[in-house]
Assembly symmetry: C2
C-alpha cells in the first residue's frame, strides 16, 4: 500500500541508518553484557548465559548459516519451543538478511506443508522433540534443501529420517563469534508468520526490520519496561512473534526467561519460573492464565507478585483472572488486542490517571476492554456507512488499523484486496470505542447484525439474555427483514424448570437499558440450538433455518409486544 506522500526540505539527519534487528542484540552485548538469559531445558535444569554470550553464539550461527549456503532474502523455517536457541535464530537468520519463517507446531499437516511451500523455505531448524511433526510433511515440501536439528545430544544419537541433516550445536562448535553483519534495507523482511485462520489457506505476513524495531520500542515505552525488569516469554515464539517480548529484553536491558516446552496442562512450569526468577513481566492468553491461577491456589505459600504485569490477549480475560492476580500483590493483567497482521500489538489496556471518581467495579469493567491504541498507530472504527462511529461505547463498527507495524498486504495472495483498504488493515473484528478512548471488541464482523443502517453485536445480546436465570443457552442471529435489512433473532433454550414459566418479555427485560429500542431482538423459544463439531453454535445453519422469519413484516420486538 502506498500513501500520498509529500516532500519537505531535506534534512541533515542520519536517515539512511537502517533499523535492523541485529543492532538490538549487538547494543545489548555492548551496554548490558552481563544481563542474564535463563532458558529452561527440562524440569529443574536451566541453562544460563548473558547478552554478551548470546551475541557470540548468534555470530557463530550466522557464520554457520553462511557456509550452509543461506543468503540474504532466503527463507529459513524454525519449529521450536520457547528456548534460547529460538532467540538466537531470530537474530542470526534476520541479521544476515534472510527471513526467519515461524512454523506453528499446532498447524495441520496440510497447512504446514502449504506454509513451507508457499514461502519456499530453503532450510528448516527443528527441535529434536518436534522431528515427528516435520517428518509427517517432509515428503510434501518441495523447496527444503537441508534440516538442522536442535538438541544437546550428538547428532549420531538422534533418530531422524530428515536429510541432509545437521546439528545446531555441532555447527556452532566450529565457528568464529565474529560476523561482519551487513546493514540491511529496513524494509526487507526479517521474519514471516502465516495466519492460522479457520477459513481458507494460511495468509503470509512478512514483517520488516523497521516494523519489528518500532513495535519493540513502542511496547517498551507503553508498558514501561526497563533494565530492572525480568521478562518471561510466556507466549509461544512461533505464534505472532511471541508478542515481541523476547526482543524488548535486549532493547532495554531486561533479564529474559525462556520456559522451554510447556502446554496448557503444564503451566506450573511458568508459575515456578515466575517465582524462582523474580519475573516482573509476562504475557499469555487467558487459556494459560486461568490454569496458572489454579496451580497457584494449590501452593502452600502464596507467591508475592508485587510489581508484576501480564499482557493478556486472544480472548477477554474473565474478571476472576483480573482479580486473581491482583490479589497476589496488586499484579496487573493488561488486556491487549492484536493479530498476525499487527505484529501483533495494536491496543493495550492501561489505566489513564484522568478517569477519576470511578468505583473499583467500573475499573474492573474497563480493564476487560482491549484498551487504547499504541502510539504511532492510526485506528478507526467505522460503521455500516463507512464513517467513524461516535465514541459512545455502544455503536458497533469494524476496527481498522494502520501504521508502521501494521501489514499492508499478504505475500503473494489474492486476498490482499479484500483485507486492506486505503492503507488500513480491515480487522474483520467488530467493536465500540468509548468517550475515554477505550476500544472493546465484541464480535467477528460476520456475526454482527446489520439493522436499520447500524450494526448490532450478537455476543453482547447473547450475554445479556444469559443474565436471566431461566435461560440455559441463547444464540442471536441476523435474519433478513423487509424494512430493516436485518433484525436480530434470539434463539433461546430455557432450563427445564423454567419452561412455560418465563415469558419473552421477562427475557427482554434483561436486555432493555443496555441496548437501544431498535436493537432489541425478537425472541423465540427452541428446544435446542444446532452446534458445530467443536461445540460452537452453528449460526450458519440457524440462519438458513430462519431465513424467512421476518418475511411477513413481523416486528414484535420493536413494538414491545408480550409473547
Amino acid at each position: 500500500m502506498s500513501y500520498q506522500i509529500i516532500d519537505g526540505f531535506p534534512s541533515t539527519s542520519g536517515d539512511n541508518y537502517q533499523l535492523n534487528t541485529i543492532s538490538i542484540i549487538r547494543n545489548a552485548a555492548r551496554t548490558f553484557p552481563d544481563v542474564e538469559i535463563v532458558s529452561r531445558i527440562k524440569d529443574g535444569i536451566n541453562f544460563r548465559y548473558n547478552y554478551q554470550k548470546a551475541y557470540d553464539r548468534i555470530g557463530k550461527l550466522a557464520n554457520a548459516l553462511k557456509k550452509l549456503g543461506i543468503k540474504p532474502g532466503d527463507r529459513v523455517g524454525v519449529m521450536e519451543w520457547n528456548t534460547h536457541r529460538h532467540f538466537e535464530l531470530y537474530f542470526a537468520i534476520s541479521g544476515l538478511g534472510a527471513v526467519m519463517l515461524q512454523l506453528n507446531l499446532r498447524l495441520s499437516q496440510v497447512d504446514l506443508a502449504y506454509v513451507v511451500n508457499h514461502s519456499e523455505a530453503k532450510a528448516i531448524f527443528v527441535d529434536e522433540s518436534l522431528i515427528p511433526v516435520f517428518q509427517s510433511v517432509a515428503d510434501q515440501v518441495k523447496t527444503v534443501e537441508l534440516y538442522i536439528v536442535m538438541t544437546d545430544k550428538r547428532l549420531d544419537e538422534v533418530k531422524t529420517a530428515l536429510k541432509p541433516v545437521h546439528s545446531y550445536e555441532e555447527l556452532l562448535e566450529k565457528e568464529d563469534a565474529h560476523y561482519d553483519w551487513p546493514m540491511i534495507n529496513e524494509k526487507s523482511a526479517y521474519s514471516a508468520c502465516y495466519t492460522s485462520g479457520t477459513t481458507g489457506k494460511p495468509k503470509g505476513v512478512y514483517y520488516s526490520h523497521r516494523c519489528i524495531y518500532l513495535h519493540t520500542m513502542a511496547i517498551a515505552m507503553m508498558v514501561g519496561l526497563n533494565l530492572n525488569d525480568v521478562i518471561l516469554q510466556g507466549v509461544p515464539m512461533f505464534h505472532a512473534q511471541g508478542w515481541g517480548l523476547w526482543l524488548v529484553g535486549p532493547m532495554v536491558g531486561a533479564k529474559l526467561v525462556f520456559p522451554g516446552r510447556f502446554t496448557v496442562e503444564t503451566t506450573n512450569i511458568l508459575v515456578d519460573l515466575m517465582i524462582s526468577e523474580k519475573v516482573t513481566f509476562s504475557c499469555g492468553a487467558p487459556a494459560l492464565l486461568i490454569p496458572m491461577l489454579e496451580y497457584i491456589r494449590t501452593l502452600p505459600e502464596k507467591p508475592d507478585f508485587t510489581g508484576l504485569r501480564i499482557i493478556s490477549g486472544a480472548t477477554e480475560p474473565p474478571l476472576s483472572v483480573l482479580r486473581g492476580y491482583w490479589d497476589l500483590g496488586k499484579a496487573v493483567v493488561m488486556h491487549a488486542y492484536g493479530s498476525t497482521e499487527t505484529t501483533p500489538l495494536a491496543l493495550i489496556n492501561h489505566f489513564k490517571p484522568t478517569i477519576k471518581g470511578w468505583s473499583k467495579e467500573q475499573e474492573w469493567e474497563n480493564q476487560r476492554k482491549q484498551g487504547l491504541p499504541l502510539a504511532a498507530l492510526d485506528i478507526k472504527i467505522v460503521g455500516v456507512d463507512g464513517r467513524e462511529v461516535p465514541p459512545d461505547g455502544q455503536t458497533v463498527g469494524e476496527l481498522l488499523v494502520r501504521g508502521p507495524w501494521i501489514a499492508s498486504s499478504y505475500y503473494n495472495d489474492s486476498r490482499t484486496e479484500e483485507c486492506f483498504v486505503d492503507g488500513y488493515w480491515a480487522s474483520g473484528d467488530a467493536g465500540t470505542i468509548d468517550e475515554n478512548g477505550y476500544v472493546k471488541i465484541t464480535d467477528r464482523l460476520k456475526d454482527v447484525i446489520k439493522s436499520g443502517g447500524e450494526w448490532i453485536s450478537t455476543i453482547d445480546l447473547e450475554n445479556s439474555i444469559m443474565c436471566h436465570d431461566g435461560v440455559f443457552e441463547a444464540a442471536v442471529i441476523g435474519v433478513p427483514h423487509p424494512k430493516w435489512q436485518e433484525r436480530p433473532l434470539a434463539l433461546v433454550v430455557l432450563r427445564n424448570d423454567a419452561r412455560g414459566k418465563v415469558t419473552r418479555d421477562a427475557i427482554l427485560d434483561c436486555v432493555r437499558g443496555k441496548f437501544a429500542k431498535w436493537q432489541l431482538p425478537e425472541i423465540i423459544f427452541v428446544d435446542e440450538i444446532a452446534k458445530t463439531s467443536v461445540g460452537k453454535f452453528d449460526k450458519k445453519t440457524a440462519r438458513s433455518q430462519y431465513i424467512d422469519y421476518f418475511a411477513t413484516e413481523r416486528d414484535s420486538a420493536i413494538q414491545h409486544q408480550s409473547p
Copy 2:
C-alpha cells in the same frame, strides 16, 4: 552520508507509513484528550488546557500559516520562551511540511542574522518581549517576508517596527480547527537548529521527522516516562530541541508544564512549579540545578521530590547537586550527553542493576559519568591510531556516534567533511569507557595531549594536581617532544604560604596511582597563568610560551626525578 545497504526479501509491512511529528499530537488528542498542559504566563498566572484543545489550536495555526503563504519546505523562524505557543508552533509548522527554525535568543546579532539568512527563513514568530532582539537585526535579514507577534494583547497595543506584522492570537481567532494534514516524507526536515560553538559561524542541523520521532520514543523508553508522569520543560525550547521532552509528553500521555520566561536568576519559578504541579520529570544544566537547590534551601518547608528524575546535561553535575536532590526524597539526577548534532540525547546515566557490591561513594562517582548510549545508537571511542580504546575507564579517545537521530552532515556547509567520518559524527570530545559500558567525557579533543601514541586528558591531570592543598591553580598543556610527540607540562601556581615548601614530587604524588607512568606531567612552578577575557586558562598562549620546553630531551617526569 550513505551506508552500504543490502536488500533482503520484500516485506508486507506498512513500511511506507511515514513517521511524522503531527501524528504524535493527533494521537494524544485521540487517546489522552483530557491530559493537562500548564503554561505559566507570568507569576501566579498559569494558562491551562489539554491535548485536545492544543491540537485544535495547532489546526487553526496551520490554516493561518497556509493563508499567509507558508508552503512545505519553507523555513519559519521562532524566537520564544518555553510556552504553550512554542509547543503549538513546533507541530503546526512541521505538520504542514515546513521547517521550524529554532532561534536562540542569546545569539549575538551577527550570528542571529547569519542563521536567518543562511536558512533563508520566510517568516518569523517572535514573542512580544523579544521584539527588541529581533528589531536589532531586522535590517540585516534578507529573506523574511512577514512577522507574527505572540502576545495576549491586541496587535494595535503592541509597539513594534517589524513589518508586515500579524498577531498570533488574532490569526487563530478566524480559523477552523480542522486541517487536512499531509503525510510528509519522514526524511524531510521538521526543525532546524544552528550550533552555537565559539569558533566560526553557526552550523545548521536540520532534523528529520524520522529522527525526532525515534529520539522521542527512545527517551520515553530509556528513562521510563509514561502517562503517570508530569514533565517540566526546564531546558529552553530554542536550544537543541529543548532536549525533546515537550514531545515525549504527548507521545506517552504525560502532563506537560511550560515555565514561560525564566533565567538562571529566577529558577525559583521552576521550583515553585515543580511543587505546585507535582512534577516527576525535568531537565536542566547544573547552571540551573544549582541555584534551584539554593532556592529550595530558603523554603520554610522542604519539598518532597519522591519519584522525581532530572536529566542534567552540558557540564558534569557536582556531587553536591546529585546529593542535594537525593536528599529531597531520593530524587535522581541523571547525567546525560548530547549536542546539537545528536538531537540531542546520545548518552544517559541510569544505574544498571548488575553492578553489585558498590559502595555509595562508588555509585556517586559513577553517576557523574555521562552514562550509557541510548538504544539504537552506535558509539565508538577511538584513540590516536583510529582504533577503539579498551574499556578500562582510563584510555582516552574521541567519541564517535552514529544512528537514526545523529546528524550526518551540516546544511550547506563545507565543514561537513571534517566532522563526519564513515557515517559517524566525530564529536571532538575526548573521553573514556569503562568495563560497565559507562562513558565519561573529560576534555575537548583539542585540549588533549598526544603522547607516545596515546592521548592524555589535561582536565583529569589538572583535577588531580588541584588535590594538593598547596596548589592555587594549575593548567596542563601539551608541548612538542622529540621522542614522545607531545608531553604534558603542568603550570602550577602555589598558594602564597606554600611557596618554597611544596616540591614537584609532592605534587606528582597526587597524580601517581591515577595515571600511568608515561602520563605523568613535567611540573613547573609559575607565578601566574595567562587567562582569556572570560577568565579561562589561555592555553594557546601558554603553549606558544613553552613550545621549546622539551626541545633538549628533558624527560624528568618519565624518570621520576625529584625537583
